[in-house]
């Protein structure tokens, strides 16, 4: 009977630990943000050196945005692995 008490107490401690874990996970901070994008688009027709240089800068801007967005993808995938799907 005393063993039953000890088992019940142990289960209580386990449930409390699990509850604390989920609480901390749920309140972990800020999830990655999703912000509107405005992507640079190159000017067609003009194939001067100056315009091609400007076009390459536009592509650099696109690639920087892609890197940033890839970071958001990674952050959201990492969240997937800690989703407390079993509820509270």
């Amino acid at each position: 009977m005393l063993n039953n008490k000890i088992i019940a107490l142990s289960l209580g401690v386990i449930v409390l630990a699990a509850g604390t874990y989920f609480y901390l996970n749920m309140n972990k901070a800020p999830r990655s943000s999703v912000t509107p994008s405005t992507q640079a688009v190159v000017k067609s027709g003009d194939n001067s050196d100056a315009q091609i240089d400007a076009d390459l800068k536009a592509v650099d801007s696109n690639l920087n945005s892609l890197d940033s967005q890839s970071g958001n993808v990674d952050a959201s995938i990492n969240q997937t692995q800690t989703d407390p799907s079993s509820g509270f």
């Binding site: 912000t35 994008s37 091609i52 958001n72 993808v73 969240q79 989703d83 407390p84 799907s85 509820g87």
Partner: protein
């Protein structure tokens, strides 16, 4: 004999006390802790729902600003986002008025199971946004490749040796084509995911992420090719000696 009987009753009563505990603790404590649990679950549920509403509103802006996503897909996702916002708002109202612990717990669980905002929906939106940016970058690089091709043709007409630059241009076009294949594949495998796709969606999302990585590497290589071609053209124009 009396001592044995007394000892027997002492042990018996002690055992009953250990098993059942004090009567007062059994009647008063659970009622108080149940109310506390209800308050805690409601508070946490409200926080979780508000986070999701904020993320969904930002996702709506992201979808509206997408350039390469088809109008039909934009409409589908916008509708889905607005539906999730409405449903989560209704769920928040229900949770706030729940008085039964079991019902409250079941409702709170649906924040995850019915929406999968962070497990499926936001990764889906982020991947589509990344694919959209890849599409814009690929189109920009295609336009640059066309301009560089025109410049090489002009130089070739003037008798310049542009064979090395043409090889770079071929590589650039191949990389752009592969990047386009990658982002089209990402869109097609991601568009159909729903909350019910979880947990199988996790593998699909990871696969799409790998395709984004491959496409991004293609685009960076194409951009480096363009820069080398641009520098090569500059050098040929500076050098008036016929190659």
């Amino acid at each position: 004999m009396k001592l044995k009987i007394s000892l027997f009753f002492f042990v018996f009563l002690t055992a009953i006390f250990l098993v059942h505990g004090p009567v007062s603790a059994q009647t008063a404590t659970p009622r108080v802790s149940q109310e506390a649990r209800i308050t805690t679950i409601k508070t946490r549920s409200d926080i979780e729902i508000d986070k999701r509403l904020d993320s969904l509103n930002k996702a709506a802006a992201r979808i509206a600003g997408a350039k390469k996503l088809s109008d039909a897909d934009k409409q589908t996702f916008s509708t889905e986002i607005q539906k999730d916002i409405a449903d989560l708002t209704a769920l928040r109202a229900k949770i706030d008025t729940d008085t039964d612990l079991a019902t409250l717990k079941a409702d709170a669980k649906t924040i995850y199971t019915s929406f999968r905002v962070y497990a499926v929906f936001l990764p889906q939106i982020h991947l589509l946004s990344a694919a959209d940016i890849m599409g814009v970058a690929a189109d920009n690089l295609s336009a640059i490749a066309t301009k560089l091709g025109t410049r090489l043709t002009e130089l070739k007409g003037k008798g310049k040796d542009v064979s090395a630059l043409e090889t770079l241009l071929s590589d650039m076009n191949a990389k752009i084509a592969d990047a386009k294949t990658q982002y089209a594949a990402v869109e097609s495998e991601i568009v159909g995911l729903t909350p019910a796709s979880y947990p199988g969606s996790t593998a699909t999302i990871k696969d799409a992420r790998e395709k984004i990585k491959t496409g991004a590497a293609d685009l960076k290589a194409a951009r480096n090719d363009a820069k080398q071609i641009r520098d090569g053209i500059h050098d040929l124009n500076k050098n008036n000696v016929k190659q």
